[in-house]
């Protein structure tokens, strides 16, 4: 058992970190985040276009499919900075879908879809179901052979950015057997098959996807032999990118809270001078620093077999704990103001609840870690 772990940073990661820090700060000020809460689309299409033009969607795609040929390690700093600024775009959904295709798509599918994604086509995954289980193999949606294709049925939940996605990576049990993956294009879906969900994080756009009556040609099925591996990979990608978002979010939560603690006066004293507030915010800060160390360790080890899973699960567990603690205390430390919609603490707390409970919470990942470690 490796008690210390490894961490590193590539030049590309450092460069992307710098560019993304400035870009996300400039393009997603908090006033804009607030405006977009009410917006149906939920993000600024011009910013999304710029993200594509910057080539960020192509970072972790292989060169042969129009990508840059780097890895998810280089995507991590970008997502971290998006998380810092609560920036909403379909970037994460699309990145996850692209990874699904890389891990489980057929050669033809890779050639068809990856170059389009590299140029800015939005995509998403439709894997969760009403049972709320994080285990991606526990599904009821089904795919039944019919003619030269499959008839799908069932309902998927938490399909992020479904309103923008051109393609959906859908899991369904093949003829009552094990889970297989399909690529469903938007125009294969009948009218009314997606319905917006009301979710705790109002910066997100999440949908239910009804698959009843959706028929797809057999070429839409992904590589049957890779389905389990692809699902396992998707789970890791989700956990990694959520960890990145959470580290970014935790940083901003703490900064936002500190602004208040440095200026608000009660009983003739700046409230940040009281140890009852100072010490917990320090604890939140240390927890964030630790989460960030785990995040960049997970990024560093993401392509290393045998290291990846431990590093990613630790990162997800730690980041969830850090972000949720910081945001929970942020509401409390803002006092009466913290109880209002106007205070940004709620934005962070809602975001942290979302992130912590997607792709496995801390206890879930620790249970898996225990099995891996001892």
């Amino acid at each position: 058992m490796d008690m210390v772990g490894t961490i590193g940073l590539t030049e590309e990661q450092a460069d992307l970190l710098e560019v993304a820090t400035n870009f996300c700060r400039d393009k997603s000020p908090i006033e804009k985040v607030r405006e977009l809460l009410e917006d149906d689309l939920g993000y600024d299409p011009d910013v999304w276009k710029e993200v594509a033009e910057l080539g960020w969607l192509a970072i972790a795609l292989p060169e042969e499919y129009g990508g840059v040929g780097l890895s998810l390690a280089e995507v991590v700093p970008v997502v971290e900075q998006m998380g810092r600024n609560l920036m909403a775009t379909p970037f994460v959904s699309t990145s996850i879908a692209a990874q699904a295709i890389i891990a489980g798509g057929t050669e033809a599918q890779k050639k068809t879809y990856l170059p389009k994604i590299a140029e800015g086509m939005a995509a998403t995954v439709a894997l969760s179901e009403d049972n709320g289980d994080w285990d991606l193999l526990n599904i009821e949606a089904s795919a039944n052979l019919e003619g030269n294709g499959y008839m799908l049925s069932g309902t998927k939940t938490f399909v992020c950015d479904a309103h923008s996605a051109e393609i959906f990576i859908v899991s369904a049990a093949l003829d009552g057997g094990s889970a297989k993956l399909f690529i469903v294009e938007k125009d294969m879906l009948p009218e009314g098959s997606i319905r917006r969900e009301t979710v705790i994080d109002e910066t997100r756009r999440s949908f239910k996807l009804c698959l009843d009556g959706v028929g797809v040609h057999e070429i839409q099925m992904m590589d049957v032999n890779q389905a389990d591996a692809a699902l396992a990979h998707i789970h890791m990608v989700q956990a990694l990118l959520l960890s990145a978002e959470m580290c970014g979010g935790a940083f901003s939560t703490i900064e936002y809270t500190l602004d208040y603690l440095r200026t608000r006066k009660q009983f003739d004293k700046i409230v940040g001078s009281y140890q009852a507030l100072k010490h917990p915010i320090v604890d939140a800060h240390i927890s964030y620093e630790h989460a960030r160390s785990h995040l960049y360790s997970a990024a560093h080890n993401f392509d290393k077999q045998g290291e990846q899973e431990v590093a990613v699960r630790m990162a997800k567990s730690k980041a969830g704990e850090a972000f949720s603690y910081a945001a929970d205390r942020s509401i409390q430390f803002h006092g009466g103001f913290g109880f209002t919609y106007e205070c940004d603490a709620q934005l962070y707390r809602r975001r942290s609840l979302w992130c912590e409970h997607m792709a496995g919470d801390g206890a879930y990942h620790r249970e898996k870690l225990a099995a891996l470690m001892f």
Binding site: M1, I7, G8, Q13, V282, D283, E289, K318, E367
Partner: protein
């Protein structure tokens, strides 16, 4: 000095590794101290002094200090490699911690050429043991309020007062001493001066303090009209606070340049797995209990948090926003971790949690019980965890003073 290549460092690591394996002293028939703060007996002292001298003579202590003062004249990174290797092999700790890792780098940083020439070699060989006279009985965490007086008299200062928690005070030849030279200074900090004080003079007495474990390691040091030469003052009169603060940065590892060697042996985290496998809960090994498994995993995550954060300090783009954050946070993080880890290890022992060192049926000789009680020396000493949080809050997060 240009940075060594990875290959050069790796070669040095191999050299250190081989030497340590070859020369590691046999386990003595008495219990060795876990940290430099627990050297309680002459036999422990002699054993560790001998070991430090051997390591120095082999070139694995003071490797980064200048040759003219007895060091190895190499890049400091070589010393860091050797230190890590000592820690990894869990060889005995370095005895002269305050000399090697606080006073030495301080002298190289702020001392005169004469100071370095006089003191550094003796620090490396462990011939001259150093202790620290900062804390006082009535002013534990409030260092700036030190009341031990130093009054100028001709070529001497006359010292009166008392210092407490003097690690190795009974063994030390020198003390880094913070004393009040001007009681009427405009602020309490400006009245302090810093001395490289000899211990073997009339009027200085040390009384061992018995710790909560029942062992010794600290003394209280009493000064009664003790005369020390005026030229052992470091810096100018009234500058003591600044020098003391710089010393604390070395003590907390926030600044580099240490003479090297690890001085606090960490418990072997992986040993808690062994404990969890042997401890029984409801007729089954505790390691099968889901709650225990979750706790174990949390400790694993935390162990990595600390190690990874230490490594992240060298990845500049990942620390530039708050460069002091990780160095200043590490002390509270790891000392509290060690305390809770020991506590958890005790909890895995069932009723045997209640045994203590000396009981032959105690789990691993009672090392976790003793370790837990001793862990408080680090959560309290060198600035309590609570003071650490104030420091981080004020110096990293920009909050006003409490």
């Amino acid at each position: 000095m240009s940075s060594p290549t990875t290959q050069e460092l790796e070669e040095f690591r191999k050299e250190a590794s081989a030497w340590l394996k070859e020369n590691r002293p046999a386990e003595p028939d008495f219990m060795l101290p876990l940290t430099f703060m627990e050297v309680g007996t002459e036999e422990q002292f002699d054993f560790l002094r001998d070991w430090q001298r051997k390591c120095y003579e082999a070139g694995f202590i003071g490797a980064g200090w200048p040759k003219e003062y007895g060091g190895g004249g190499m890049h400091q990174k070589f010393q860091e490699v050797a230190t890590k290797e000592m820690e990894r092999q869990r060889v005995p700790i370095m005895l002269n911690a305050i000399g090697l890792n606080w006073t030495g780098p301080l002298l190289l940083d702020m001392g005169t050429h004469e100071d370095r020439a006089i003191y550094l070699k003796g620090i490396l060989t462990a011939e001259d043991i150093w202790c620290q006279g900062f804390s006082e009985p009535d002013h534990g965490s409030d260092l700036g309020n030190a009341q031990t007086k130093a009054v100028r008299d001709g070529d001497d200062y006359i010292i009166n007062g008392s210092k407490i928690w003097t690690t190795q005070g009974n063994f030390a030849k020198y003390m880094i001493l913070l004393a009040r030279t001007n009681p009427d200074a405009p602020s309490k900090y400006k009245g302090l001066s810093f001395f490289l004080a000899p211990m073997h003079v009339d009027g200085i007495e040390t009384t061992p303090i018995r710790k909560l474990t029942g062992e010794y390691g600290f003394t209280q040091t009493f000064f009664t009209d003790a005369r020390i030469p005026a030229d052992c003052m470091m810096g100018e009169e009234g500058q003591g606070w600044a020098v003391a603060m710089r010393t604390l940065e070395y003590e907390r590892g926030a600044r580099g340049g240490q003479g090297g060697g690890y001085t606090i042996s960490m418990p072997d985290v992986s040993k808690i797995f062994d404990l969890a496998k042997t401890a029984m809960r409801n007729g089954k090994p505790a390691i099968e209990d889901p709650v225990i498994r979750d706790q174990l995993t949390q400790f694993m995550i935390e162990a990595r948090s600390i190690a990874l954060s230490a490594k992240r300090q060298s990845l500049t783009p990942l620390i530039q926003e708050k460069p002091h954050s990780l160095p200043l946070s590490s002390k509270v993080a790891w000392t509290e971790f060690i305390r809770r880890l020991n506590e958890f290890a005790i909890s895995l022992q069932g009723t045997k949690a209640a045994y203590y060192v000396g009981e032959e049926d105690a789990v691993e000789g009672g090392i976790w019980q003793r370790g837990y009680l001793n862990a408080f020396s680090a959560t309290i000493g060198g600035g309590t965890s609570q003071i650490q949080r104030n420091i981080i809050g004020e110096h990293v997060l920009g909050l006003p003073k409490s």
